[in-house]
Amino acid sequence: MIELLRTAAAERGEQPAVVSPRGATTFAELLTRAEAVAANLVARGVGRLAILDDDPAQVMALLAGSALAGAEACVYPLAASDEAVAEYRERFDHDHLVTTRSGLVDAGATATADLLVDHGEPVPATAPDDASLMCMTTGTTGAPKAARHLWSRVLLTTRRIRPVDDQMWLLAYGLNQFGGLQILIHVVAAQTTLAAAETFQPRDGLAAMRRWGVTHASGTPTFWRFLLIEMDSDGGDVPPLRQITMGGEAVPPALLQRVADRFPTARVSQIYGANEFGQNVSVRDGVAGLPVSMLQEGGDVVFKVVDGELWVRSRASMLGYYGQPPIDADAWRATGDLVEIVDDRIEFRGRASEVINVGGVKVHPLPVEDRIGQIPGVALVRVFGRPNAMVGAIVAVEVVPESGHDTEEIDAAIRAACADLPPASRPRSIRFVETMGTTGNKLTRGGTS
């Protein structure tokens, strides 16, 4: 990571690496800070650290500096309460926390500012080959885990990235998320600029797109759904995006089309990846799902389908979850994504953990969600299992209606749209809500809730 940053600083030192409401940080400034971080970590003998910092430019410096120092960094989610931070520190054995949160600094954590300052310590020349980092899962289906990665594997994708001009990338993921880390790495490798909004909420993301002239944006389908609602609601300009990427959740065909229609100047692509296998694959043909050609051997990431579930083998695979036995990098791993091969496409049916067991019949929520998402007046939809004493669980639907639409009409349209589904798959509970809960800009579904 530090080599990429040193190259960017040498070739485009005065170009902003990050713009945010706090101001701009150039590649040269970022490198200076990262080297100070590395020097200070080595001098203090810090081998592992947690990072909780609301300034993305500082997090970038801390991550790059940690890599140079050979210290394993782990970025905590900004939404974590002090109690959650204490729990993470205990679970992941983080003796050192670097943060901007004053209450935690008062309680003994290191202030970020202290690490970013040059205290005259020697700067390491190169990062060790086995430099590692930890990346937490979002914890949508339980307590977050932390995947341990080698920087050298995570950076494999940068072999294909060349410096570009005139690009501005939106940071729509937290830097605690694997998606955020991927964007950060891409921006440094491509020597372009990262635009960070006030928060990771779609409303702030939209404002950042307009303020800084964002050209490229990557987010979860949930992020894009909410962003479209914000755009429709405020009636403002449509940002002239050139590239839109969706990933982190299954991408419904209807959403792909909706986003393409609203951003006519953008190329819309999907990425499929996961923290655990350390890399993303990109699909640019505008069709939902993956091409079956990805089942062929070759490349850094290969897939196979076992009993309806997608399995992956990745050269960039994580080392393992912290606190659990290491995994073999050459081993196949179940992704937890249920799929079906339809013609020449691997279509996603949902997460294994999201399957709803209706009286012994397994129902995948995504196909139901996709039908309902196409009904006029449905702004957002979530399909999940609702516990039921008679049959274990029933298919339940929550809908955020678009303003001006009659909920009784939407209710009737939902029932009509699902009338030809098998009886167990038909929604048995339909509720209208004002908004929906998300974790890391991913919709919270769960098998039953």
Binding site: R386, N388, A389, M390, V391, A396, R415, P423, R428, S429
Partner: protein, 83 residues
């Protein structure tokens, strides 16, 4: 707002109407094949509607209501002042 029993009656009729069943029922009407003919998933749906509208429902507490009256009696019992 009416009593829980009358609210439950309203919910049952609304459900039957939406499910294309005969909503002209009495307390003696069977919920199953010899009455309105609900299957297990329809009973589950009715259970969730009653829970949404009234806060709880007989099926969720283990009462196997077989007639409309069994459901209404559950809510009548809730209205009785405790001793």
């Amino acid at each position: 707002m009416g009593s829980p029993r009358s609210q439950a009656e309203e919910t049952i009729k609304r459900f039957l109407s939406r499910a294309n069943k005969d909503a002209d029922v009495t307390a003696e009407t069977s919920l199953f094949a010899d009455g309105v003919g609900l299957d297990s998933l329809e009973i589950a749906e009715l259970s969730s509607m009653l829970e949404d509208d009234l806060g709880d429902d007989p099926f969720s507490v283990g009462i196997m209501a077989t007639t409309v009256g069994d459901i209404l009696d559950y809510y009548s019992a809730e209205e009785q002042p405790s001793a």
